[in-house]
């Protein structure tokens, strides 16, 4: 294995971490807002307080880790993505600010503003949509070089069906992941009403998810045949992912093993996410940038990897402690 692969694997793994725990957070805020509108607010607010408030900062650090790490390992990405993504990422930052300030001002401070909760819920859908655009752009065809600097073409981006397919997928995935997790969490807490509601949402969003995921594969075939070919050569990963998906839904349907259902879901997404990532190889941005021509120098690569290993040794026990206290502690979960 060469250093480039090690670097991107670390980053991709952390991005996956962000997508999973971020989705729980984003989806929960949306369900919370939705329940406010249909006057069922008390069901979810409690869970957001108990689980999300202690961990949202950690969630955010996963994202920071990814974007700091990618500049470290692949400095040239700063030039291509940094120059072109000014507007989409800035909008993402504003949405992140809405979420962060909700925790700061509403759950920690004096609370109770309905409009804020709605805004917070809305940001839970808009944020994955705006961040997922980056993945679409990486497929190529939207960035052109003018006078030696990259320029993003918004018109082609927003008229391309692939863009909207990815946006839809990100939103359905967020809702599905979040609902499945919260079903389990509410069940742990012995909150039957919340469990019932979240299970309903999980089942509701399961099939839209699979439809949009299939839709992307179709769209990709037209947009980037090269990538499509590589994706197809990894068909077994996606097939396995699909089987796990069916199992999760089956557990949810049968109202049992919510914990295993969620673990299967994580593996399902991991397979699909890494399958997608591997088929993207070696491009970071079709067709301008590959892992190899954007990679940092050898000395920096080695020192980043050493720093990563040391940091990781510090991180794992701390994360374990956090999860043990807030996720697996029955007393805390059920609010005692």
């Amino acid at each position: 294995m060469n250093l480039e692969i090690i670097g991107i694997s670390v980053l991709w793994t952390f991005l996956f971490g962000y997508i999973m725990i971020g989705s729980i957070d984003f989806g929960a805020s949306f369900f919370n807002a939705y329940s406010l509108i249909v006057e069922k607010q008390h069901i979810l607010t409690n869970i957001i307080q108990r689980y999300l408030s202690p961990v949202w900062e950690v969630t955010n650090v996963f994202l920071v880790f990814f974007f700091v790490g990618i500049i470290g390992f692949f400095p040239k990405t700063a030039f291509y993505y940094g120059t072109t993504l000014l507007v989409p990422i800035s909008i993402g930052v504003i949405l992140l600010a809405v979420r962060g300030s909700y925790y700061a001002f509403e759950t920690y401070g004096a609370r109770g503003h309905k409009g804020y909760a709605l805004l917070y819920g809305l940001s839970g859908l808009l944020l994955p949509a705006s961040l997922s655009i980056v993945l679409t752009i990486s497929e190529g065809g939207f960035i052109t070089m003018e006078n030696g600097t990259p320029v993003l073409n918004y018109w082609t981006l927003f008229t391309e069906p692939l863009t909207w397919a990815v946006v839809l997928l990100s939103v359905t995935a967020v809702l599905y992941i979040s609902a499945t997790f919260l079903t389990w969490y509410a069940n742990q807490a012995g909150d039957t009403e919340a469990t019932r509601l979240m299970r309903k949402y999980a089942l509701l969003w399961a099939f839209p998810l699979i439809f949009t995921a299939a839709g992307i594969i179709v769209e990709l075939r037209g947009h980037n045949p090269d990538h499509y070919e590589k994706l197809m050569s990894l068909w077994w990963m996606f097939a396995l992912s699909f089987i796990l998906f069916l199992l999760t839904v089956w557990f949810l349907w049968k109202k049992r093993n919510y914990g295993s259902a969620f673990i299967l879901l994580v593996i399902q997404f991991a397979l699909a996410f890494f399958g997608y990532g591997i088929s993207h190889y070696p491009y970071l941005l079709y067709p301008h940038l590959t892992l190899y021509d954007s990679f940092t120098n050898h000395a920096m690569a080695i020192s980043l990897i050493v720093a990563f290993i040391l940091g990781f040794c510090l991180l794992v026990p701390s994360l374990y402690l956090l999860l043990k206290l807030f996720l697996f502690n029955k007393q805390y979960v059920s609010g005692k």
């Binding site: 955010n60 120059t83 992140l96 600010a97 700061a104 401070g109 120098n297 940091g311 402690l321």
Partner: protein, 449 residues
């Protein structure tokens, strides 16, 4: 290809974001240490007041941290969005401390989450206090790492540029550059100092306006004492920073001191004005002081601006930034020293309205000194983004939409700033100290003093 407009707006946006972030970042570094010391004193003396102090500070701290995380994420992304050429180069050489900083964030965020939600879950208070140690360490280390990046920008080393190509990159050498020791220590110590005085301001404000409770007296004495220690350390390390500049960035020191010609026995110029011939008027001149600040000796020669090409001289207004910082630093040493001696000797003067009023000002003034110091350091580096290697104008994005983003972010910071103030004041008004003390004593069965 340089796009003048993008350069201009990128600079304004960077300045705005950093100026805003630094307020929260400074508190994020300093306040956990204050909480830790207060809780420790509380446990040791078995004094419920200090524990409550720690508790109430923590509540406010959570809010500042959350806004710090939001603005920090913004600046982290903006560095790549606004300065892509710089980040591409910097990524090759100085990415290591930036990367390590994310681990410091992780560490801090994890333990802060645990600390906050476990106030009454431990029988043994000391165990709970232990959870705060990683928070304080994480906060201080994020400052250390980010400041290492910044010191690299001021005195880059650890690589060779051959025909525009990077070779011989040594990330550790880049981290341990000449600016690093003074810069890191000055930044960390000033953060502690600022946190102490900001908390002192709050205590003084309560004593001035409403409450005469002994709780506030203890709080003021406690924070002023810490403020005294850290402000003395600040001045000492500030002096070393001056010596660093004289050796490695003489143009910054010369511009800050309006030192136009290279000569010995140089006086330190405080305040004053420049006329059209660059003659200095109305200034206070302290003989030999600049030579001492730069090289320890009253006779030492200090490099002047005459040694530098016209287009490499930083803006001369940084003189006022330097003076603001130093005046505030010296003033606060004196203020906290008077208070400390006053308490020991029982002077009535320190309980007067005038003195309390001055103490209320100490927090905002230290924050102003932080801002002035950063502006001095960053503007004093201009026109370079990486001193001697890359100019700021070459580093900026070519994207045309920076002006729009500037307006967007200004709106965001205004909302966040107002939100912080409103939420904090509401939180503490609803929850007065006297009430909380009563509640806690009832809870504990009144055994505590």
């Amino acid at each position: 290809m340089i796009n003048e407009e993008s350069v201009f707006y990128s600079r304004v946006l960077t300045e705005t974001t950093l100026t805003f972030h630094i307020i929260y970042a400074t508190l994020g570094v300093g306040v956990p240490l204050m909480i830790m010391i207060a809780q420790w004193v509380g446990i040791k003396k078995n004094d419920e007041h200090y524990i409550l102090l720690a508790r109430r500070w923590t509540r406010g701290f959570v809010i500042t941290v959350a806004v710090g995380v939001v603005t920090g994420t913004a600046i982290g992304l903006q560095l790549s969005l606004l300065w892509p050429n710089f980040m591409e180069l910097a990524g090759h050489i100085i990415a290591l401390p930036l990367f390590m900083e994310t681990f410091a964030f992780f560490f801090e965020a994890i333990f802060l989450g645990i600390y906050l939600y476990t106030w009454d879950r431990f029988e043994n208070q000391k165990k709970h206090l232990l959870l705060l140690v990683p928070v304080a360490i994480g906060g201080s280390f994020s400052a250390v790492f980010i400041t290492i990046v910044n010191s690299f920008m001021n005195s880059p080393q650890g690589f060779d540029l051959v025909d525009g190509k990077l070779t011989n990159v040594n990330p550790l050498l880049a981290m341990f550059n000449p600016a690093m020791p003074t810069k890191v220590t000055h930044v960390v110590v000033t953060a502690y100092m600022t946190a102490a005085f900001v908390l002192a301001s709050i205590a003084a404000f309560r004593m001035l306006t409403s409450s005469k409770h002994v709780y506030h007296k203890k709080a003021l004495f406690f924070t002023m004492k810490l403020g005294l220690i850290f402000s003395i350390a600040t001045a000492v390390i500030g002096d070393f920073s001056g010596k660093f500049l004289a050796e490695y960035q003489p143009e910054k020191l010369a511009a800050a001191e309006w030192h136009f010609e290279t000569h010995g026995e140089a006086p330190l110029i405080m305040w004053g004005m420049l006329d059209e011939n660059n003659d200095i008027k109305y200034a206070i001149q302290i003989p030999f002081a600049l030579s001492i600040l730069a090289h320890w000796l009253p006779g030492a020669v200090v490099t002047g601006l005459d040694q530098f090409p016209e287009d490499e001289i930083p803006p001369l207004y940084i003189h006022y930034l330097f003076d603001t910082m130093v005046t505030i630093g010296m003033g606060l040493v004196v203020l906290s020293l008077i208070y400390w001696i006053g308490v020991k000797r029982g002077w009535a003067f320190i309980h007067s309205k005038l003195f309390l009023g001055l103490s209320v000002l100490s927090g905002p003034l230290s924050m102003l000194a932080i801002e002035a110091g950063w502006w001095l350091a960053e503007v004093g580096r201009q026109p370079w983004i990486l001193r001697g290697i890359m100019r700021t104008s070459e580093a900026a994005t070519t994207n045309n939409q920076v002006d729009l983003m500037l307006m967007l972010f200004c709106g965001l910071y205004i909302i966040l700033g107002i939100g912080t103030i409103v939420v904090m004041s509401r939180m503490f008004k609803r929850n007065p100290v006297e009430q909380e003390l009563k509640d806690r004593e009832m809870e504990k069965g009144g055994v505590q003093k």
